[in-house]
Amino acid sequence: MTYQPQADFGTPASRSDEQVTLTIDGREVTVPAGTSVMRAASEQGTSIPKLCATDSLASFGSCRLCLVEIEGRRGTPASCTTPVEPGMVVKTQTPHLAKLRKGVMELYISDHPLDCLTCAANGDCELQDQAGAVGLRDVRYAADATHLGQTKDHSNPYFDFDPSKCIVCSRCVRACDEVQGTLALTVQGRGFGSKISAGLSSDNFLGSECVSCGACVQACPTATLVEKKVVEIGTPERSVVTTCAYCGVGCTFRAEMRGEQLVRMVPWKDGKANRGHSCVKGRFAWGYAQHQDRILKPMIRASIDQPWREVEWDEAFAYAASELKRISAKYGKHALGGITSSRCTNEETFLVQKLVRAGFGNNNVDTCARVCHSPTGYGLKTTFGTSAGTQDFDSVEDSDVILVIGANPTDGHPVFASRMKKRLRQGAKLIVIDPRRTDLVRSPHIEAQHHLALRPGTNVAVLTAIAHTIVTEGLVDEAFVRERCDWDEYREWADFVSQARNSPEMLEPVTQVPAAELRAAARLYATGGNGAIYYGLGVTEHSQGSSTVMAIANLAMATGNIGRRGVGVNPLRGQNNVQGACDMGSFPHELSGYRHISDGETRRLFEGEWGVPLDPEPGLRIPNMLDAATDGVFKALYVQGEDILQSDPNTKHVAAGLAAMECVIVHDLFLNETANYAHIFLPGSTFLEKNGTFTNAERRIQPVRKVMTPLNGLEDWEVTQELARAMGLDWNYAHPSEIMDEIARLTPSFKGVSFDRLDQEGSLQWPVNDAAPDGSPIMHIDGFVRGKGKFVVTDYVPTDEKTGPRFPLLLTTGRILSQYNVGAQTRRTDNVLWHEEDLLEIHPVDAEDRGIKDGDWVKLASRAGETTLRATVTERVAPGVVYTTFHHPLTQANVVTTDYSDWATNCPEYKVTAVQISPSNGPTDWQEDYEAQARRSRRIAEAEAAE
C-alpha cells in the first residue's frame, strides 16, 4: 500500500489495430503501429529518461533527455517523437547516451533551486527522479544568469505557481490546450527568457481565464505547479481509487492520503469516464468534508420553533421510529414517505426506497431526479425501451456533428466538455440550441456552426421544425427506419411533421429562430456523418420536457444516428448518481430496473426477497407529497441527502408543505434549508467516508471507496439500516456489497454486477447480464431494447406560463462551473472565490428600459413570489430573457419559480417563468423573514454541564 505515482508511459496509447514488432535493448516488443519508441520501451519495463513527455499529451520533443540510438540511423533521435517501425533495433542505454543526458540534466539543474530537501515535491518530482536516473552527481557550471528568486503566484486557492522552479517544458501549457481546452497558459518570450504565463504577464492565475481544473498541476514534472495541500500536509503515502461525488460525469480519482488525512485528489488515468482529467470541483473542492458546519451528532426536537437537542444515535433512532409509527397509526400508512438522493450511493438509495416500500408499507418514495431528469426516463423508455443514454463518453471521439441542446457542458459537465471540445478542435461540427450564448458557442478554436437561440419554452417547436426539414427534404435514413423502427408509427410521425404548420418558417414567430438557420442546422445534423445529440436540463425542465426527449429520440431514429459509436442520444446527468437513483427504484411507480409497481410478477419477486406484501398502486411524487401535506394528509418524511426547500420550485409552497408535517427527518451533512423544518436530524457521511457505488451518465457503475472513518460514526447505509431496525425490520447487511448482491438478484440489468467484479473491471456499464457479461458501452446496436424503435408524435403545446404586461420577461435558470446545485458543498470551499453570489443576467436593452446598470440590486418578481439579487448586464441572453443560477440560499431563486411542470412526470418547469425586473434597494420581506426563521431554526441547545 505504499505510495506509487500513476504509471506514465510518456506518450498516449495508439488506437491502431496493426501490430509492429521491434527490438529494444535486445528484447523483442510488439505494440500497435503509431506507438512511440518511448512508450514501447516503457510498456516493456524500460523507462527512458524524459522531462517534456507525459502520456496525457501529444509528444513535443523539446527537452532532449529521451535520446536513443537506433541501428542504421544517424544521430540520437528523441524516443518520444519517434514512432516504432517493424524490425527497428533500439538501444536506450549506451555510454554516449548517458553522457548526452547528463549534459542536458546539468543545464536544467544549474538553473534550478537546490532545495530538494525542503521542497514540497521532494520524493514526488520528476526532475529529481531524472537527475537520479541519468546519474547526475555534480553540476560543473555555476550559471551566471538564473531564473531563481522570482515571485510566487499564490492567487489560486488550491495550487501555487513558483516560476523559479520552472524548466519550461510546456507540459502545463499543452495540458491546458489539449486536455482541458481552455488555453489559459502561454510560453512568453524565447530561449533563456521564456517563461510560463497565465494570460498577460500582469495576470495571476486567479485573474486569468484559468478554470482551475488542475490539468497543468498534474502535468508539471517539478514543484512549479503544486497543490497547496501538498505544501501544507506533505506528500501522500498511500492512495485509494474512488469516484467523484459531484456531477454525472463520474470522474474517478486517486484519493492520495497521509494517514487518515486526504492530501489530494488526483484524476485516475485508468478512469474510463474521465481518462485522467478532472474539474475544479472533484479535484479541489472537497474541503466541505471537514468543514466546521458539518453536524456530527444526531439531534431531535418536538417542534421546529425549539432549538435542537443533541442525542445519542440510539435515542435518535428510537424517537424517529416511534414518531413514524405514531403517525402511521394515527393518519394511516399513506401519511408517510421518503426521498432518496442522487448524491448518495446506489446501495443507500436502494435501502431508502426499500424502507418506504417494505417498512412504511406504501410507494411514497421519490428522488431529486424528479426535478431534473424524470422526463429522460419517461421519454427514452417510451421510444427506445431504456431509461438511459445510449453511448459511453468515448463515443464522442467518433462524432462528426455534435448537437447540444439545453445543456451547458463547460459549466455543468466540464470533463466531458473538454473531451467534446477536443473532438470539435479536430474538426467535428457543432450545433447549439440554447436561449443563452453559452461558452461552447464560441471558445478558443471552437465556434458553433449554428446557434439556434430559441425563445425559452419552444424546444418542441424547434425540434419539430428540424424534423420537418429532414423529412420534407428527403434526408431520412429510410433503410434504418424500415429495419429498426415501427414503420406505421414512423409514417404517422412523418405525416405530422411534414404539415406546413410545422415548417421552420411557420414556427419562426413562435421559436424566434430564423428559418434558414434552422434548416441549415437540420441538414447538417442529418447529412454531416455521425450525429450525436447531448442534452441537459434545458430539455427536461419544461412543461413539455418528456415530449422534448421523445422529439430528440425521433430525430436520432429518423437519421439512423443510433446503435454505434459516434452517434446517439445522451442525457448529461446533473448529479453524480442521478442515473443510479433512478435505476434503483426511487420513483413511486417503479421498482429497480424500471419495472412498474403494478406488475404482479416483479412485485412477487421483491415480496419473496423482502418477506412483506407490496402496495400495487403508485405512490406520491415530491410535488404531490407537498400538496398532500398542505391538505393535512401527509405527515412524515424521511429525506436523505437532498435539500428540497432550496432546490424545488415554488419555495413558499415547499415551506408550507414541510411546516404542515409532524415528523420531518433530515439525513444530511449540514443543517440545510430543509432542516429548518425538520424534527430529527441524522448526520450523514461524505463520499470519502463510505463504501458503495455511483452510476454516471453513461450507465457506468463505479466504486466509491471509504478512505477515512466517518466523522459522524456511521456510513449512510448504516443509518438507514438502523432506522429500519428500530421500526422492526429485520435487516442485517454487514457491508454495502451485500446490498448490491440483493440489487443484482432483483434487477435483470444488474444481474452480473458485484463488488468483486467492479474491483476487477474498474467499472461496468449496465446492462450487465447473460447477454452482455462485461456490460454495454453502447446500446441498441442490433435492435432497440423495446424491439422496434417507436416514433412518437410530439405536438408543440405552449406552456401555460405566459408573459404579459405584469410579467413581460422570461426567466430561465442554470448553474456554473465552480458551484454545485444548492451549493451546500461548494459554498463551503474556496470555490466561492469564483462565485460569491447568484447574479441575474439581463440584456442591455431590457436593462436600459428599466434603468438598471451592471451591478445594481434588482427585484425579480413572478406570480409565485419575489426576491432580490444583483444584475449583470450582458448580451449572452437575448432581449426578453433573463437568467440566474440557484446556488445560494439567500437569493432563493426558487421563490419565483412556479409549480407548473412536465405533463408526463411533474418535473418542474424551472426553465420558464414569466417575471418582471425592477430596481431595488435591498432584500425583500420574504428574504428577511426567511433569514430570521432560518437563524432561529438552526439553534442548538447548549449541552448540559457535565457532572
Binding site: 399513506h334 410507494n363 411514497n364 404517422e492 405530422f496 412543461s543 413539455q544 418528456s546 415530449s547 413511486p588 411507480h589 412498474h596 403494478s598 398502486e617 403508485p618 405512490g619 406520491l620 410535488p623 404531490n624 400538496d627 398532500a628 398542505t630 391538505d631 394528509v633 408524435v793 405536438d795 403545446v797 401555460d800 409549480d899 411542470s901 405533463w903 408526463a904 412526470t905 411533474n906
Partner: protein, 68 residues
C-alpha cells in the same frame, strides 16, 4: 377548489393535450393517470364534478372511475 384539485385538473388537461395524437387520446390519458397517480389523487379527481376539465380529460377520468 383546493389548490391541490386545481393542480390535478391542470395536470389532467396537460396530459390529455399532450396525448392528442394517440389513436384514442382519452384512453391514453386514462392509462397515463392509472400508471402515475397515487390512489388519493385519483380519488380526488373522481370526486370532482368535472369543472375545468377538457373533454378528453373528462372522458378519461369517467372511464377510469367506472373501472375503479
Amino acid at each position: 377548489m383546493s389548490s391541490t384539485l386545481d393542480n390535478l385538473v391542470r395536470m389532467a388537461n396537460q396530459i390529455a393535450a399532450n396525448l392528442q395524437h394517440e389513436p384514442d387520446p382519452a384512453a391514453a390519458t386514462a392509462e397515463h393517470i392509472h400508471l402515475f397517480w397515487d390512489p388519493r389523487m385519483k380519488r380526488m379527481i373522481f370526486d370532482h364534478d368535472g369543472t375545468g376539465l377538457s373533454p378528453d380529460a373528462a372522458k378519461a377520468i369517467a372511464a377510469l372511475k367506472a373501472s375503479a
